[in-house]
């Protein structure tokens, strides 16, 4: 019986195969038990040396639920419960509050993201329909397939904190889609501030999320119409 030998090393040490960062550890070559097959008749395969994300720099579905289940909602800012058109509009307030608070703290976002902004964005994207789907965008926050790739890319634009093993189907689950949307929105906030060279307003961030920051004013107004209405209802 061969035991697993996983030797994590803080990856400040240079890896031979790939450049590592402080967000990863190197897992040395090790054997792994598998179902016996023609290729592996003895039921053992060798896993090559690879990088593994350090806990706390990524979220997978299991970790999302672990955080959500243990998070205290006491004292954190929740979105308003004003009567919006959709009967489902208040169903996801806890997830919105939790993940907005989580990423505000994690990235020390100043000024903090407003849960009402997140709620109005979700309403403007999907009317709070969890299974809203187009060939490009999926779920309650209408996260695109391309965005899903970016937020899971360890070398991509949000490599400091990524998601792991999230499928397109998972985006129809608001428990998964909401943290991704908030994380993406926090990234969009810093992007828009870099682009504009000033603190971003909530509408700047929403326009960047919708890819319309540089669009014609008329398009921007059209695109913001629903968001403004919902945000107005939530903050009045």
């Amino acid at each position: 019986m061969i035991e697993f030998i996983i030797l994590p090393l803080m990856a400040k040490k240079k890896s031979t195969s790939r450049k590592a960062s402080t967000k990863t550890t190197t897992v040395r070559t090790h054997p792994r038990h598998v179902k016996p097959s023609e290729k592996n008749p003895n039921g053992i395969t060798i896993v090559d040396q690879h990088l593994r994300r350090v806990p706390g720099t990524f979220l997978d579905e299991k970790e999302i639920y672990k955080i959500a289940n243990g998070y205290s909602l006491k004292g954190i800012k929740k979105p308003s419960k004003n009567n919006l058109e959709s009967p489902d509009s208040n169903l996801y307030d806890n997830q919105i509050a939790l993940w907005t608070n989580y990423f505000n703290k994690l990235f020390n976002i100043t000024p903090a993201l407003d849960p009402n902004m997140i709620k109005a964005l979700i309403g403007s994207e999907s009317n709070f329909k969890i299974n809203a789907r187009t060939p490009q965008a999926i779920g309650i926050a209408q996260i695109t397939k391309q965005t899903l790739k970016i937020v899971q890319d360890p070398n991509g634009e949000v490599k400091d904190f990524i998601f792991n093993n999230i499928s397109q189907k998972d985006l129809e689950n608001p428990d998964v889609a909401i943290p991704i949307a908030v994380r993406w929105l926090s990234h969009k906030k810093s992007m828009v501030e870099r682009k504009l060279g000033r603190p971003a307003t909530h509408e700047d961030i929403i326009l960047e999320y919708k890819g319309l920051l540089k669009s014609k004013t008329e398009f921007k107004n059209n695109a913001l119409k629903k968001y403004r209405k919902l945000y107005g209802e939530l903050t009045k």
């Binding site: 058109e85 329909k129 187009t134 490009q136 319309l212 669009s215 008329e218 059209n222 695109a223 629903k226």
Partner: protein, 176 residues
């Protein structure tokens, strides 16, 4: 004899003007239903089919948002002023053009249709534009956009979602 001729002429004129008024009233009529729960006002409009135009506006958004299209409907009111109507969510090209096709098939099968819209009727439109209504000419958008909820002829309806059942007098037999 002259009196008889005059009274016949009067009756004929009266009949013509009444008929015209009736026809005009069918071109466009509006009933507003303020919400009792704090939501949007519902606007129920009966309108002649030739007073409707539709388009999908491509937003040409950046990067991963390049799919965004905005469905627009334009209707001509009794003063020949255009009320724009938006689908409340962005769509991709296929969904938007399918929606245009479906709604067109509803209003083309009937001389008039009934619309259920959400929002307040307010002037002016922030970015007035000319909309071509074919035989009825070009007219300018004068009102702020309303939200599309449902379009029905005598037989079928197109409805964006299940909230249409809150529209007074709307019975949905077709839901996308």
């Amino acid at each position: 004899m002259a009196n008889l001729r005059n009274s016949t002429l009067f009756i004929l004129l009266f009949w013509l003007s009444t008929s015209c008024a009736l026809l005009n009233s069918k071109k466009f009529s509006l009933d507003s239903y303020p919400s009792t729960t704090g939501g949007d006002t519902l606007q129920v409009i009966t309108i002649s089919s030739d007073r409707i135009q539709q388009e999908c506006i491509f937003y040409n958004a950046e990067a991963e948002n390049n799919w965004r299209h905005q469905y627009m409907m334009y209707i001509l009111d009794s003063e020949d002023e255009v009320i724009p109507i938006m689908h409340s969510l962005n769509q991709n090209k296929i969904d938007c053009t399918n929606q245009i096709r479906t709604i067109k098939s509803i209003y083309q099968k009937s001389k008039q249709v009934k619309l259920c819209l959400r929002g307040d009727i307010k002037k002016p439109h922030p970015y007035p534009e000319k909309i071509n209504f074919g035989k009825l000419g070009q007219h300018t958008t004068k009102y702020e956009a309303l939200w599309l909820q449902a379009v029905c002829n005598e037989k079928i309806c197109y409805s964006y979602d299940g909230y249409t059942n809150t529209c007074p007098g709307f019975q949905i037999s077709y839901d996308k």
